[in-house]
């Protein structure tokens, strides 16, 4: 069992906060920049009191300028710093697309590998609560499309902390995407062991034999809940958490499907041209022709902006029941 002397209780939110603390304590070149950092009620428990512990020169609250702040972080990273940009909502981060996509993602390639903006951009998915179309978007597929960016979506408490640290220590630009709906998960973590982000891959979080469920971020949480429920009905599902969407390594999914022969992909973004399509395409290219016993199935958001009205909103987002029903539907004769 866990040794209480070395393990400590965290939520997903406080795990992110502990990653910031670890980085700010151990790496003088780390600084954090973004809106709301001196009054971080925007971001749950994930940044509490960092400004008080590490000073307002290293935890910088800013003008309402997503674009300039992200660009400044890119420039600082070229000058040897390891900045973390906090975008309390991904929707507003779209103002910073030039700095992320045209600049950060391209600089290594454009200059023959001589420049590398090792900047981390934390984009928070913050939806539900009748907030509607411009306070809800999960845009990970956009960023996963861009060569040069690493895209990370932690779904567990451990990854919330450890992938953040790995992202910041990585020399490449990283888009780290967390989801407010994950913040209350709890776990016990041992002290930090630094990981090399470039070797991180999708992980099997639950083993099973009947079907493989692949997901990322909050959708991985749904997959894990589904797997627990299905076990009670003697359905054995294998859950794979993608964790790193770009560069995307599909090996572990292919291996799993050779065993389970059934594939369900869940994604917290929209369906069309979404990341679920990339998962299925990359896997199907590699699988033997007759491996899957049923066509692959994906669950994602309807191709519509998020509605505000509570009835519409409830129907819009995927529930554990939706996933359970999809699995049963795939496995029925």
């Amino acid at each position: 069992m866990n040794n209480s002397a070395t393990f400590k209780k965290y939520t997903y939110g406080t795990a992110i906060c502990s990653a910031f603390e670890y980085l700010l304590e151990n790496y003088p070149e780390v600084f954090v920049i973004g809106q709301g950092l001196w009054s971080p009620w925007y971001v749950g428990s994930s940044m509490t009191d960092l400004d008080k512990k590490f000073g307002v020169d290293r935890v910088i609250d800013t003008p309402v300028s997503e674009s300039a702040c992200t660009g400044a972080a890119v420039g600082a990273s070229l000058a040897g710093m390891k900045p973390i940009v906090v975008q309390p909502r991904m929707d507003f981060m779209l103002y910073a697309m030039d700095a992320v996509v045209n600049q950060a993602a391209n600089w290594s390639s454009m200059f023959g590998g001589q420049a590398s903006p090792g900047v981390t951009i934390r984009g928070i998915i913050n939806r539900g609560g009748e907030q509607g179309a411009q306070h809800s978007q999960a845009l990970h597929a956009w960023f996963a499309h861009i060569p040069g960016l690493r895209v990370v979506m932690p779904s567990t408490v451990a990854d919330a902390r450890d992938l953040m640290i790995a992202s910041v220590l990585c020399n490449d630009p990283v888009v780290y995407i967390d989801d407010r709906w994950l913040y209350d998960q709890e776990d016990e973590l041992s002290s930090v062991v630094e990981m090399d982000l470039t070797t991180q891959k999708p992980l099997v979080t639950q083993t099973g034999t009947d079907i493989t469920i692949v997901a990322s971020g909050h959708a991985s949480f749904l997959a894990r809940e589904t797997s627990i429920q299905l076990k009670k009905e003697y359905i054995s599902s294998e859950v794979i958490d993608i964790r790193v969407l770009n560069p995307f390594d599909a090996d572990v999914i292919v291996e799993s499907l050779i065993k389970t022969n059934h594939l369900l992909v869940i994604d917290s973004g929209w369906l069309s041209s979404g990341f679920s399509a990339e998962v299925i395409a990359k896997v199907m290219e590699r699988l033997p022709v007759d491996c899957l016993k049923k066509p692959p199935v994906r669950i994602a958001l309807p191709d519509a902006p998020a509605p505000t009205s509570r009835v519409l909103e409830k129907a819009y987002y995927t529930s554990v029941n939706d996933v359970i029903n999809a699995v049963k539907n795939i496995l029925k004769n």
């Binding site: 300039a68 660009g71 972080a73 420039g75 290594s108 454009m110 001589q114 690493r150």
Partner: protein, 347 residues
């Protein structure tokens, strides 16, 4: 449009030799040589683009050399300079290695960016040139951040952002000015006001032709100078940079100039330019920053026709040799496209 620049924007004014009293022969000669070298390197690129040796676009800055040369007199190798699409002069003023520029423009692996950048993506960080990129105004916030980094690192280095008059029509410039001011970032904003954005004259794009008004709006101290007077640019920069290094925050210098070639490649672009004429171009060529410095030095008996011919011949032959060498250099290996997508830098 309000003509706030007044005479500074006039092609008929400032044709006389410049005042050189503030500088000694050594520093004047250094600036003269640097400007001539940049001019000749760009003329070589124009020629090679026209005859088809160069496959991609080149944005030439002939006529504007005094700005980069004047600015660079106050810079050190550890400063953090960012350019844009028209940045040959910005780089060559820091490092006169035109051979590596030629190789880069030709896509050769011996180029500044290992042949991965071409004319629009230049890199020479060891000499302070952090990079140029052609998204208009895209590098401006990067310079602000590189300045902020210098402050955090307790270094007296500064960020430098070269910005055209068209670029200030992008919102990011105003966010960057504001952020630089509230963060007290050590950064110099260099406005190269050549009065054209691509084909279109500033009078059709802005209510005033004076870009410094945005410095006023952000409480950033500024200087407005004749961008075709290298001594004026150099003196104004020296004062501003000294103040920035002393910890007094961002500064802006607006340099009024004119580009001889069109927006891209070797043509005059009188046909596609809106409010651009051969008359204007000819008049601006009489306001040539090289000619005006050279004439001033000749009047002061610091320089003569014989020495000028000697310098021109020397540079012509060096450029010829460098061009031939670059033409014969290897292209990057085919695996280069995938090789550099993610970092190869060891920190």
């Amino acid at each position: 449009m309000i003509n706030e620049l007044k005479d500074l924007s006039s092609p008929d004014k400032f044709h006389n030799p410049i005042s050189i009293k503030s500088h000694d022969l050594k520093s004047l000669y250094k600036m003269l040589e640097s400007m001539i070298l940049i001019r000749k390197a760009e003329q070589q690129l124009a020629l090679a683009r026209k005859n088809g040796d160069i496959g991609g676009p080149v944005h030439l800055g002939a006529g504007q050399e005094a700005i980069a040369v004047g600015i660079s007199q106050s810079l050190q190798k550890t400063d953090r300079v960012f350019g844009a699409h028209r940045s040959h002069s910005h780089l060559l003023a820091l490092n006169p290695d035109f051979y590596r520029l030629f190789a880069e423009v030709l896509g050769k692996e011996t180029g500044f960016s290992k042949g991965m950048g071409g004319s629009m993506h230049l890199w020479d960080q060891p000499n302070g040139f952090y990079g140029s990129a052609p998204i208009v105004a895209g590098t401006v916030p990067l310079a602000v951040g590189a300045g902020m980094a210098a402050k955090m690192q307790n270094k007296n280095d500064i960020g430098v952002a070269y910005i055209g008059d068209g670029a200030v029509e992008e919102g990011i410039v105003h966010e960057s000015f504001n952020l630089a001011k509230v963060q007290n970032s050590p950064v110099l904003f260099v406005i190269e006001n050549n009065m054209f954005a691509s084909h279109m004259h500033i009078s059709l794009r802005q209510p005033s032709d004076m870009i410094s008004r945005f410095a006023v709006a952000n409480d950033i101290p500024y200087k407005l100078v004749d961008g075709n007077d290298v001594v004026a640019v150099s003196n104004a920069t020296e004062e501003l940079v000294k103040d920035i290094r002393a910890g007094n925050g961002p500064k802006l210098i607006e340099c009024v100039t004119y580009r001889w070639y069109g927006h891209v490649d070797w043509r005059d672009d009188v046909d596609v330019g809106v409010k651009r004429s051969m008359d204007d171009i000819e008049n601006w060529k009489a306001r040539d920053p090289i000619l005006r410095l050279s004439n001033a030095m000749k009047s002061a008996n610091m320089w003569d026709a014989e020495k000028e011919i000697e310098l021109n011949d020397k540079l012509d032959s060096e450029i010829k040799v460098a061009w031939e060498k670059a033409m014969n250099d290897p292209y990057p290996a085919l695996d280069a496209t995938l090789k550099y997508v993610y970092s190869k830098v060891v920190r």
